[in-house]
Symmetry: C2
Subunit: 367 residues, 2 copies
């Protein structure tokens, strides 16, 4: 355990591509898509060897907070903060940094998505320990980079320079999601990583960076932090937080910082070689499971009983039922008490469009 380490877990996403299982009040990170524990429970569990339970922060929204309180009984209510409106990652971790500066000037903060899966917890903890060491010193920032396996256009990329101490490498620059051609170039170049969204830095470094690059937001967050621990906090947060810029850490702080040059910026990338997967869709979930468990013809079926005939590559989630799959390939079927999704592995990216439609039609019970 690293006594000054504070994990800030982001749990405000909706994960609409896991509809109909994911809902506003039961977002992707609150589902047990992989194993018996939910993804946020797994996130906390794998960080607990590194940080005291009372050092965790969870940043979420009003819809998800009740379920998170239920799922993480070891955390106190004050550790689970609901943003009145989503403002992306920079204000979320910034608020934690300003608050922690008041109680622990040596705090090292880690930013963690709560809806990714990690295959090797031990290796994850080793990488983070190295990252915490680097982030504890000076004005260093550490980002965890995923070795790319395909020319993915859905992620941001990190270009790295020469090796630095240990496994780390200097970061040259952050790039937004590329088009297919550029993504291909990145892969060929060999010195690009996917941006995992996991960052480490000291509270001091982070608050200084916010003050430098997002001064308006920094001022708002400082005012909110002043009220932390008082009865006025909730109302102050609700009133002022919406005034923060809606901006990510990458775009608001790290890109401008990296413009200083790879030596001066002090941003380091650590290869996250611990089996990372962000499970972006039903198809990704299917591939994640079938890559680990050799299923019958690539079928992955959650059911009370199963009959398969001439079928392959299907994902069916109907845990309470007997499921029969006959003559179909690469189909995704997911059912809940009130909804049924029928799509293909190829089209499961479009599932978010269903939720958009339901939002527009104000079919609130279904979203």
């Amino acid at each position: 355990m690293t006594s000054h380490f504070y994990p800030v877990i982001l749990a405000g996403g909706r994960g609409t591509r896991f509809w109909p299982l994911s809902r506003k009040k039961r977002a992707k990170q609150l589902l047990a898509l992989d194993g018996k524990q939910t993804m946020i429970q797994q996130t906390v569990k794998r960080l607990l060897p590194l940080a005291s339970a009372k050092h965790f922060w969870v940043v979420t929204n009003d819809d998800s907070r009740p379920e998170i309180l239920r799922q993480l009984p070891k955390l106190r209510r004050e550790q689970i903060v609901a943003e009145p409106v989503g403002r992306n990652t920079a204000p979320a971790i910034g608020l934690a940094a300003f608050i922690l500066q008041r109680t622990d000037p040596d705090a090292v903060l880690g930013l963690f998505p709560s809806d990714h899966v990690i295959a090797d917890d031990k290796r994850y903890q080793q990488v983070l320990q190295e990252g915490i060491r680097i982030a504890s010193s000076g004005e260093n920032v550490v980002v965890l980079g995923i070795q790319p396996t395909r020319a993915e256009t859905g992620y941001g990329y990190i270009e790295v320079g020469p090796p630095s101490t240990g496994n780390s490498r200097h970061v040259r620059r952050f790039t937004e999601k590329p088009n297919a051609e550029r993504a291909g170039e990145f892969i060929s170049a060999g010195n690009f990583f996917w941006n995992s969204g996991m960052f480490l830095w000291s509270g001091r470094t982070l608050t200084n960076a916010l003050a430098e690059h997002l001064p308006k937001t920094a001022a708002v967050l400082e005012t909110i932090a002043d009220s932390y621990g008082t009865r006025a906090f909730a109302s102050t947060l609700r009133r002022l937080y919406p005034k923060c810029e809606n901006i990510s850490v990458d775009y608001g702080i790290l890109e401008p910082r990296s413009a200083k040059g790879e030596q001066a910026s002090n941003i380091f990338c650590l290869p996250a070689d611990f089996g990372w997967n962000d499970l972006g869709s039903w198809t990704a979930l299917h591939e994640h499971h079938t890559s680990r468990h050799a299923g019958k013809d690539g079928n992955l079926i959650s059911a009370q009983g199963i009959f398969i005939l001439n079928a392959s590559g299907n994902y069916v989630h109907a845990p309470g039922k007997f499921v029969a799959v006959v003559g179909v390939r690469d189909i995704v079927v997911v059912e809940t008490d009130d909804a049924l999704l029928v799509t293909t592995r190829e089209n499961s990216q479009d599932v978010g469009k269903i939720v958009k439609h339901l939002d527009e039609k104000k079919l609130k019970k279904l979203v």
Copy 2:
């Protein structure tokens, strides 16, 4: 109404290809697959203008009888006979014939499957009235023939000779289900009809024919008929009925009779030009509905609410749920409280194999 007409409705089938909706105790004919009434209710309703309610017979089994009693409250319990074991159509209608000979020597019996749909009830009644007239005289037998629309290998065929009185034509012979090549020849020849399984004949003609062609079965049925109306009927039926030959009307009586030659056999075919469909599978049901209602891209979806994106030709039955169909073609999905079927329009013929599997595994709740 034709005062001596007695419809004998066969309702002992299982209709396993409509699993998971069809079950042992809720067979295909007891489902409302087409419209608000179940198929057996529709069968009775369209025959009621031709026959008194007290003249109906329903032959079924122990599994289906309770539900049939519920669905046909106008019929008395004695009118719904449960075979202790299935013995195909010859014993089923034969028993009715021997019993009716005792109370109405001028009875004309009609044999009717209970799991077909008919588009034009008026025309159906007209055809039957003509058939009843023909069957009332002499030793005539009438079979209703369906004008073939494709070289179907799943039906028996009737070869007809020259026109006789009215719309009727002499029957030359009955043929079993042909292979694809022969079916093609039948279609090209132009004088073949599909065997609808609907027959008309007098009780006298039928009992005589049974005595001639199936004497052993006729003797058994006569003994059972002797006990009808007494308290011994149920036990006699249960004891003796299994001794009947397991044979169809077509194969046991009409084929040998037709061997006498088309003039001597007195079998007549009436074209059943009233929009017949035997709904043999989920795919057939889908085609039946989409041919009548121009749905969106051929999707037929029973649901509480629907979202369709880039999808066509799908059949989804999930009446209590919101159904989203994204990027799929020609898929069949049917769900019940305890089961979920995922197949394709092309493969829905194989659904019966699921039931076979469930039978073998003794998963009784699911069949």
